[in-house]
């Protein structure tokens, strides 16, 4: 047994589980990378730790400082855990349309929540955080969407872990979000095994952002552009709430892995790829567990009702 000095030492080195019983093609293995095993419960622990370490190293983050960050939940929760350990104040700009569990988890870790309008979704939270950071120059704004330490965390840890555990990997599938996971892992895999194909899944965006005034208010994460996302990706597909939930339920019912809806979306994408290729080994990312979505009723009752309630919240 190893005794760890800090909960932060538990970030990363996540396990991979074979869930090929869910593969529609007997010649294609599907493997789940359980980022839900990170201490604050999501893939974002790696990103938060990496961004904070980088800011401490360059001297912009010093003891007692206040951080501000827009997050629909997981990045905020990860930052909140680390800020507790490292002694920073944290303010999270959180869209109103997230699950109650995400809000409660942030509060449990002592983060201050600044609410942003549900109708503007994550774009609105990003805009508000940028404005607040401009107005309060003494606050530290890590800005996950543009911070190189975000994809770098995945280039340095998630990617190497996957290739070491699954040298036979042929395809990698993950949710888009800030694009940090896809850019970091994708770049690492292609540099070390160029034939690996990298696929993104994303939720349908349109109906959730009624507050969008024009398409010019749209948003492409700077991380995606800096890391050449348009050239790196081999495909990008929308997975709807119904299909995401259907696969998240199959994951828990048939393999016992309790994952969030975005993991269901990634698995749906993996299954689509599996059906289109002759043979191969697909690794997909389980970004978080299902715990933070229980209040939506997504995992019990009629699938359609669960999908309807998921459509009202941000789950990526």
């Amino acid at each position: 047994m190893v005794v760890y000095n800090s909960v932060l030492d538990l970030i990363g080195k996540t396990p991979i589980v074979d869930v090929s019983q869910l593969s529609p093609n007997p010649n294609v293995r599907i493997l789940a990378k359980l980022e839900s095993a990170n201490p604050a419960g999501s893939v974002k622990d790696r990103v938060a730790a990496s961004m904070i370490a980088a800011a401490e190293e360059e001297g912009s983050l010093t003891p007692g400082r206040t951080l501000i960050e827009p997050s629909s939940g997981n990045t905020g929760i990860a930052l909140a855990m680390i800020c507790r350990v490292r002694g920073y104040h944290l303010k999270i700009v959180l869209p109103d349309n997230v699950t109650e569990e995400r809000r409660a988890a942030l509060e449990a870790f002592g983060a201050e929540i600044i609410r942003s309008p549900a109708a503007e979704g994550s774009n609105g939270a990003v805009r508000m955080a940028q404005q607040l950071a401009d107005d309060n120059p003494d606050w530290v704004f890590l800005y996950q969407y543009g911070n190189n330490a975000n994809p770098q965390a995945h280039f340095d840890s998630t990617g190497p872990e996957i290739l070491a555990d699954v040298p036979e990997i042929t395809h990698f599938v993950a949710g888009l979000g800030t694009s940090g996971t896809l850019m970091g892992v994708g770049t690492y895999l292609k540099e070390n095994k160029p034939e690996v194909q990298v696929y993104a899944v994303e939720p349908p965006s349109g109906e959730q952002v009624e507050g969008l005034r024009s398409l010019d208010d749209g948003y492409v994460p700077p991380v995606f552009e800096k890391w050449g996302g348009a050239d790196l990706l081999d495909g990008k597909r929308i997975v709807r709430p119904l299909e995401s939930l259907e696969w998240a339920r199959r994951l828990v019912n048939e393999t016992g892995i309790f994952a969030g809806p975005s993991a269901g979306a990634a698995l749906a994408g993996a299954a689509k790829v599996a059906a289109q290729i002759d043979s191969g080994t697909i690794v997909f990312v389980v970004s978080d567990g299902g715990w933070k979505y229980l209040s939506t009723g997504a995992y019990t009752g009629e699938l359609g009702d669960g999908a309807d309630s998921l459509s009202d919240v941000i789950y990526f």
């Binding site: 827009p70 979704g121 990706l233």
Partner: protein, 92 residues
Amino acid sequence: MSQISVRLPTVLRPAAGGNTTVDVDGSSVGQVVNSLIAEYPSLESNLVDDEGAIRKFVNVYVNDEDIRYLQKLETPVSEGDEVAILPAVAGG
């Protein structure tokens, strides 16, 4: 030429007579976009840039796949395919 149903985002519906979906002719995404603009000229500046490429904050999907990773505007479409236009938004 096939008739293709194009789904528009909320923000573009006022420029398209308030319609959620519009049926237009085309055998490629480029032709579909041109037909759409011919019918509703004020959509042009929203959808394409000066060089005729799809604008940065606009994502176009055929059967839920982003055409940037297919054959872009040359992506073929046929009867029954669904084209959707959606704004790029943040996640995370």
